[in-house]
Amino acid sequence: MADKNLLLIFRNPPFADSSNRDTLDIALACSAFDIPVSLIFLHDGILQLTRGQQSKSLQQKNLLNTFNALAMYDINQLFVLQSDLQRFELTTADLSVDCQAISDSKMAQLLRQSDRVINL
C-alpha cells in the first residue's frame, strides 16, 4: 500500500458535519504508515482553511490547528482551485495553511494521477 499515493478531497465547510475531521484523521493515519498523502479542497471545502476561525463559542474543536501541523506529518501537498478562491473572493493569503492554487484542468490531472482518491 505504501507505494500507492493517496488524494483526499475536502468538500464541506467547517463545523457542518464530521466529514472534514474524518478525512483529516485518514490523512494522519496514512501518513503514519508512510503513504504519500495529498489534500485538495473543493468548493465549500476551501472555507475550512480561512484565517480567523474561533470555534470556542460553538464548543467544537478547531481543525485549523491540525491543518497547521500537517507539515510535521510530511503532508505538504495541499491544493485549492483558483476558481474556488474567486468564488469566495479569497486569495491564498486569506488561508491559514500554505496551499497551491491550481486550475480546474490541473485538478482533473491530479485526480487522474492519484492511485487512490477518498471523497467522504
Partner: protein, 102 residues
C-alpha cells in the same frame, strides 16, 4: 403567540453552494417574511453571496456566534443584521411561523 405580527421566518443553515435549496427558499419568500442565516449559511451573508438575497427586499439576519466562529465578521454585507441568540428567540416569536431550509 399574540406578539406574532410578521409572517414567516425562513431559516437557512447551508452554504450558497446548495443552489436548489436557495432557489426554493427565494421562491417562497413574500413581503412580510424575513430570512435568518445560521451555521454554514452565514457564509451567504458575505458581500458577494448576499447580493441575491438582498434583492428579495426582506429583512436579512445572520447569527453572530456563527459569523464569529468562521472569522468572517468583516465580510458581512451591510444589509445583513448580525443577531445574538436572544434575538433569534425573539424573532421566532415575532413571526407567525418558522420554516427551516436545512
Amino acid at each position: 403567540m399574540s406578539d406574532a405580527n410578521f409572517e414567516t421566518l425562513h431559516i437557512i443553515n447551508k452554504t450558497f453552494s446548495n443552489g436548489a435549496l436557495y432557489a426554493d427558499c427565494c421562491k417562497a419568500v413574500l413581503p412580510g417574511d424575513a430570512i435568518l442565516l445560521i451555521e454554514s449559511a452565514v457564509y451567504s451573508a458575505c458581500t458577494l453571496q448576499a447580493a441575491e438575497l438582498v434583492e428579495l427586499q426582506v429583512p436579512l439576519y445572520a447569527l453572530e456566534v456563527d459569523i464569529q466562529a468562521r472569522g468572517i465578521s468583516e465580510r458581512i454585507h451591510s444589509q445583513v443584521q448580525a443577531i445574538n441568540d436572544d434575538t433569534f428567540v425573539s424573532l421566532t416569536c415575532q413571526y407567525k411561523k418558522s420554516i427551516s431550509w436545512f
